[in-house]
């Protein structure tokens, strides 16, 4: 099962590699990983997507928790949460009819064209995994030049934050 694991870790050089190293050393897979500093400059927030059954995820969480630099870790996907990923996609867009068709798709998915050349569009889109996946498959009516994804980040629903 797909899981979104989010953690706060000390914002020090090298701490990210402890998390990444743990995943490679124990042969856990990482589908995506995002990390950036939080409102508290001493802490970073790292969110990663992995796959596994309950026992596997439990072990991953425990191992992450063991890292001295990790202040807090949760399986976001275990509770109501919001996830978002930003994708940037450059597609061939030539001729009016193709350009119109792409624009219609962009409207339907509430995406945005943020870059234009005489032969391409660059489209920005945000959404959860389902939305981004279906947009990527839909947009393939045009030829994709390149695709960049930010990786998933997320936050829990409700009043509580990860810290407290």
């Amino acid at each position: 099962m797909r899981r979104i694991i989010s953690m706060l870790l000390e914002n020090e050089p090298g701490e990210l590699s402890r998390v990444a190293g743990l995943f490679s050393a124990r042969a856990y897979n990482i589908e995506s990983l995002t990390v950036a500093v939080t409102e508290d400059p001493t802490m970073s927030r790292l969110t990663l997507v992995t796959k596994g059954d309950d026992a596997h995820i439990e072990q991953i969480l425990k191992q992450i928790n063991k890292l001295i630099a990790v202040v807090k870790v949760v399986d976001l996907s275990a509770n109501p949460h919001i996830e978002r990923e930003l994708i940037l996609i450059k597609v061939i867009a030539k001729g009016n009819s193709q350009r119109d068709e792409i624009k219609r798709l962009v409207d339907i998915f509430e995406a945005e064209i943020i870059g234009v050349t005489d032969s391409t569009y660059t489209v920005q889109m945000t959404g959860d995994a389902d939305q981004t996946d279906s947009f990527i498959s839909a947009i393939q009516i045009a030829e994709i030049v390149e695709l960049a994804r930010s990786g998933v980040t997320g936050i829990s629903r409700g009043k509580k934050g990860l810290k407290g």
Binding site: G21, A55, K62
Partner: protein, 574 residues
């Protein structure tokens, strides 16, 4: 007080109460070595290899319960220490390793003797630090000790660039530190404890399974009390030996790959496994799918990640083993008395398994049996010696036949299985226990991996007794080749062994060769009578001996291979 970084390192170690620093100097550590030279109190032990320094600090720690301290230089000094750090990591030994590093401005430029030591050691330390500001140095060292010693212990490395050791800062060594992201859980959950006890009381075929965690937590007393109160059978892992006194009748031997028939059968047939500081390691469980098919599991461990990792725990209890056992002893008073009748049948079955005498072996007139050497050692030392070992058959015989009565007396590399560990570890044990008998049971292969430490032993007068069970083979590997590779002994014959007696003598110690079974005991007595000398006993043993019982890899506990003469087992041992 203003001190240089180098002085801060040394003064911090002193203020931490460090008795010994095991180390080896080099360029990036020169300032620190200069500060040691000028310091009145710090006791630095110069080993002959950085691996030796780490194993010595490790042996010192295992035998005393204190944290081992290592100091080495950058680059090759640090990489040489890695094997010892990984060894300590796998067995959860508290250790602080201070490594010199090239000056901050040279980091990242492939400078002379530069290695990314924080990167290299990351997967084999509990935590590591690169010090970038001399003002944080003392606190970082305090944090290193704090992390190494608390929770599940382990090695912590502090990498100190040379320029930092030259800069000055106000010195203050904190009494205490807190790390917001690190708060190990010490006390067990009372509800879980009660649940665990109730399950133990209800069980018909319970077994207590104890690992190294009980030794590390200094829980032997509580464990012995708890186990005696229940009257239940207890087995210990290779790392747990000594936590509970082996000569006691409730102890049914070590379990696992070379465990006793009764211990492994009892695990296999148990309806409840009560695990205390043990992690269901693969050398213990054999094939997990065949392991203890009808048992429920209660598991006590300080490391939540060790609980349920390999085998699901029905009742997980996170906490310090000593604290949790104390809670258990208290909680048990609230429960009805344990009825020993309940396990009468179970004990009957176990006694039947024991009657097979799975560790029995036959003596020979001409060839020295390695098992007998260990038994004789036990007698000559009254079972009170510290025994270190290397890795191989001799290690298993030491574990099987030296019936450890106390914790911290059996010192071996169980997790990583590091050949070369035995001699430097014995040296470290002797530093921590200057008046005790310290024996190193080793093999002709292993001893050569850190033989240089004989020089350290001479310099500091460490009267270790080395028992080299010399079978002219990498015996444990040869055993596997005999059983599983149709006797194709690929690169396991030890051709061109040195004359160990002469070798020892050239190091300034006493060498002995023992070739006759009749001479073993006398030679041991003679060696141990030489109180202030290191004696190296080259004991020429039967080359064909194998370690039994054995659970071949991929097999289950009920599928042990027994000594060929033990085939008529009471309950169909394979």
């Amino acid at each position: 007080m203003e001190l240089t970084g180098a002085e801060i390192v040394v003064q911090s170690l002193h203020d931490e109460g460090v008795e010994f620093v095991f180390g080896y100097p080099g360029g990036a550590a020169l300032h620190i070595y200069d500060a040691i030279y000028n310091h009145e109190h710090i006791n630095h032990i110069l080993t002959r290899h950085e691996q030796g320094a780490t194993h010595a600090a490790d042996g010192y720690s295992r035998s005393t319960g204190k944290t081992g301290v290592v100091l080495v230089t950058s680059g090759p000094g640090a990489t040489n220490a890695v094997t010892g750090i990984a060894t300590a990591y796998m067995d959860s030994i508290p250790m602080v390793v201070i490594t010199g590093q090239v000056p901050t401005a040279l980091i990242g430029y492939d400078s002379f003797q530069e290695a990314d030591v924080v990167g290299i050691t990351r997967p084999c330390v509990k935590h590591n630090f690169l010090v970038k500001n001399v003002n944080n140095l003392a606190e970082t060292i305090k944090k290193a000790f704090h992390v190494a010693e608390t929770g599940r212990p382990g090695p912590v490395l502090v990498d100190v660039p040379k320029d930092i050791t030259a800069q000055k800062a106000h010195y203050h060594y904190p009494d205490d530190v807190t790390i917001r992201s690190y708060q190990p859980k010490i006390k067990g959950n009372d509800r879980q404890i009660k649940k665990g006890l109730e399950m133990l009381q209800a069980a018909k075929r319970p077994i207590i399974y104890v690992g190294g965690g009980a030794v590390l937590a200094n829980a032997a007393e509580e464990l012995t009390h708890f186990v005696r109160d229940t009257g239940l059978p207890i087995t210990q892992t290779l790392m747990g030996l000594g936590a509970y006194p082996a000569p006691d009748s409730q102890f049914i031997g070590m379990l696992g790959m070379h465990g006793t028939y009764e211990a492994n059968m009892a695990m296999h047939e148990a309806d409840l496994i009560f695990a205390i500081g043990a992690r269901f390691d693969d050398r213990v469980t054999g094939d997990l799918n065949k392991f203890a098919p009808s048992a429920k599991v209660v598991q006590i461990d300080i490391d939540p990640a060790s609980i349920g990792k390999n085998r699901k725990a029905d009742v997980p209890i996170v906490g310090d083993v000593k604290v949790v056992l104390t809670q258990m002893i208290e909680a048990a008073k609230q429960l009805p008395d344990y009825d020993p009748k309940q396990t009468e049948d179970w004990w009957k079955t176990i006694k039947q398994w024991q009657s097979l005498d799975s560790l029995g072996f036959e003596l020979d007139d001409k060839l020295i049996k390695p098992q007998q050497v260990v038994k004789d050692l036990y007698e000559v030392t009254g079972g009170d010696a510290f025994v270190t070992s290397d890795v191989g058959q001799h290690q298993m015989w030491a574990a099987q036949y030296y019936h450890f009565k106390e914790p911290r007396k059996w010192i071996n590399s169980g997790g990583l299985g590091t050949m070369g560990f035995g001699l430097p570890a014995a040296m470290g044990v002797q530093f921590g226990n200057p008046d005790a008998d310290v024996a190193c049971i080793t093999g002709d292969g292993s001893i050569l991996m850190c033989i240089q430490e004989l020089a350290t032993c001479l310099q500091y007068g460490m009267p270790v007794k080395v028992l080299c069970l010399n079978n002219r083979y990498l015996g444990m590997v040869r055993q596997w080749q005999e059983f599983f590779y149709e006797r194709r002994y690929s690169h396991t014959y030890m051709d061109s062994l040195p004359d160990f007696v002469k070798l020892t003598e050239s190091f300034g110690h006493v060498g002995m060769r023992v070739e006759n079974p009749a001479d073993v005991k006398g030679a041991l007595q003679e060696a141990f009578a030489l109180k202030d000398r290191l004696v190296f006993m080259d004991i020429v043993t039967d080359q064909s001996e194998n370690v039994f019982p054995m659970i071949p890899s991929g097999a289950g506990h009920a599928e042990m291979t027994m000594r060929p003469d033990k085939l008529n087992s009471p309950k169909g041992a394979a």
